[in-house]
C-alpha cells in the first residue's frame, strides 16, 4: 500500500509539482490564477482533441504495417525516397508538435532511419500545409518562403548530422526508448 503511493508519487512528481504551483498562484494572485486555470483547461481540451486518435492511429500502424515495409520505404538504405516520405508525412500533418512525437516513435519502432524521422519532426513543426496557407495570408509570400526554405535546409543538415553525433549505442538507445513508449 505504502509502496504503491511512493511509486505513484515518483511517477507523477512533475504533475504534483505543477498542480502545487498552480494552487499557490491561485491563492496568492487570484486573477492570474483564474487565467492560468482557463488556459490549462483549454490545453487539456486541445490535447484530447488530437492525441487519443493519433495514438489509436499508431496502434493501427503498428499492427498493420510490417517492419519490412517501413525499412524498405524509410529505412537506412531507402535513400531519397525515405526523405521524400518523411517530408510528405510531416507536411500533411495537423496538430501541435508534441502530437508528432508518438508518430516519430512508431516510425523508429518500425526501423525508419533516425535522420529521416528527425527531418519529419522538423517539417511537422514548420511546414504543415494548413499552417503554410495561414502563414502566407498573415505574413505574405516572401516571409513564408524564406521561413520554410531556411528552416528546412537547417533541419535537413541537422538531421543528417545527428547520426554522426550519436554513437551506435546511443542511437540504439533512442530506438529502444521510442519503441518502449509505443507498445
Amino acid at each position: 500500500m505504502n509502496s504503491n503511493i511512493i511509486i505513484f508519487t515518483k511517477k507523477y512528481k512533475w504533475a504534483i509539482l505543477t498542480i502545487l504551483i498552480l494552487t499557490v498562484i491561485n491563492m496568492t494572485l487570484p486573477s492570474l490564477g483564474t487565467n492560468a486555470n482557463q488556459l490549462t483547461l483549454s490545453n487539456f481540451l486541445t490535447m484530447f482533441g488530437v492525441l487519443p486518435p493519433i495514438l489509436l492511429l499508431i496502434g493501427l500502424l503498428d499492427v498493420w504495417v510490417p517492419k519490412e515495409i517501413m525499412i524498405k520505404y524509410m529505412g537506412e538504405n531507402s535513400g531519397i525516397k525515405g526523405l521524400v516520405i518523411a517530408f510528405l508525412l510531416g507536411s500533411f500533418a495537423a496538430g501541435p508538435l508534441y502530437a508528432a512525437f508518438p508518430v516519430a516513435a512508431i516510425l523508429l519502432k518500425k526501423r525508419a532511419r533516425l535522420s529521416y524521422v528527425m527531418f519529419f519532426l522538423g517539417v511537422w513543426s514548420t511546414a504543415k500545409l494548413p499552417m503554410v496557407m495561414f502563414e502566407y495570408t498573415s505574413f505574405g509570400g516572401l516571409f513564408t518562403v524564406l521561413h520554410i526554405t531556411t528552416n528546412l535546409t537547417v533541419f535537413l543538415i541537422g538531421a543528417l548530422l545527428i547520426e554522426k553525433m550519436l554513437t551506435a549505442e546511443s542511437k540504439e538507445a533512442v530506438y529502444q526508448s521510442a519503441s518502449a513508449l509505443s507498445e
Binding site: L39, T40, V50, P53, F143, L146, T150, S177
Partner: protein, 159 residues
C-alpha cells in the same frame, strides 16, 4: 475542426480494421491506450506548465515586449519568448501580423514565430522521454539555429 477530421478518419480506419481482423484491432486499441497511459505523467505537467507560462506571457504581454524592442536585442528576446511560450498558430500569426502593422520589425517577429513553431521548451520533458536527452536537445538546438538562420536571411532580404 482538425479534431473532428482526425477523430472521423481514425474511427473509419478502426471500423475497417475491425472488419478485417477484430484481434488485430483490439491489439491496436491496447497499444494506443497503453501509450496514452505511459504519456500521462509527462502530459499533465506539460499542460499545466503551458497554462501557467501562457498566463504570464499572454498575447498582450508578448506584444508589449516585442512591439517596442528592436535590433539585435529584440531578436534575442523574440527567440527566447518563442522558445518558452506555447501558442497555437491561429493565435500567434494574427498577433505577429498585428505587431508588424504597428511598426514592429520583421526580424524580431521572424525570431518569435519561427522559434515558437520549432523549439519546444515546454514539451522538452516529453521529447526526452521519447528520444532521450541527447537527441531531444540536439533537435531543439537545431531548431534554434534554424530560427536564427531565418532571422539572418530575412534581415538581409528586407533591410
Amino acid at each position: 475542426m482538425t479534431s473532428i477530421i482526425i477523430y472521423s478518419v481514425v474511427t473509419f480506419l478502426m471500423i475497417i480494421s475491425f472488419i478485417k481482423s477484430p484481434q488485430k484491432t483490439k491489439k491496436a486499441f491496447k497499444i494506443g491506450f497503453n501509450s496514452f497511459k505511459k504519456l500521462l505523467p509527462s502530459i499533465i505537467p506539460m499542460m499545466i506548465g503551458i497554462g501557467i507560462v501562457l498566463s504570464l506571457l499572454s498575447p498582450e504581454t508578448v506584444s508589449s515586449i516585442l512591439g517596442e524592442k528592436s535590433g539585435f536585442l529584440g531578436v534575442l528576446i523574440g527567440l527566447g519568448i518563442g522558445s518558452v511560450a506555447f501558442m497555437p498558430s491561429f493565435v500567434a500569426f494574427p498577433l505577429g501580423a498585428n505587431l508588424l502593422a504597428h511598426g514592429a520589425g520583421y526580424p524580431q517577429i521572424a525570431a518569435f514565430i519561427s522559434s515558437l513553431m520549432a523549439v519546444g521548451f515546454m514539451s522538452l520533458g516529453l521529447e526526452i522521454k521519447y528520444f532521450g536527452k541527447k537527441t531531444a536537445l540536439i533537435r531543439n538546438l537545431t531548431a534554434l539555429v534554424a530560427s536564427s538562420a531565418f532571422v539572418f536571411v530575412i534581415w538581409r532580404a528586407l533591410l
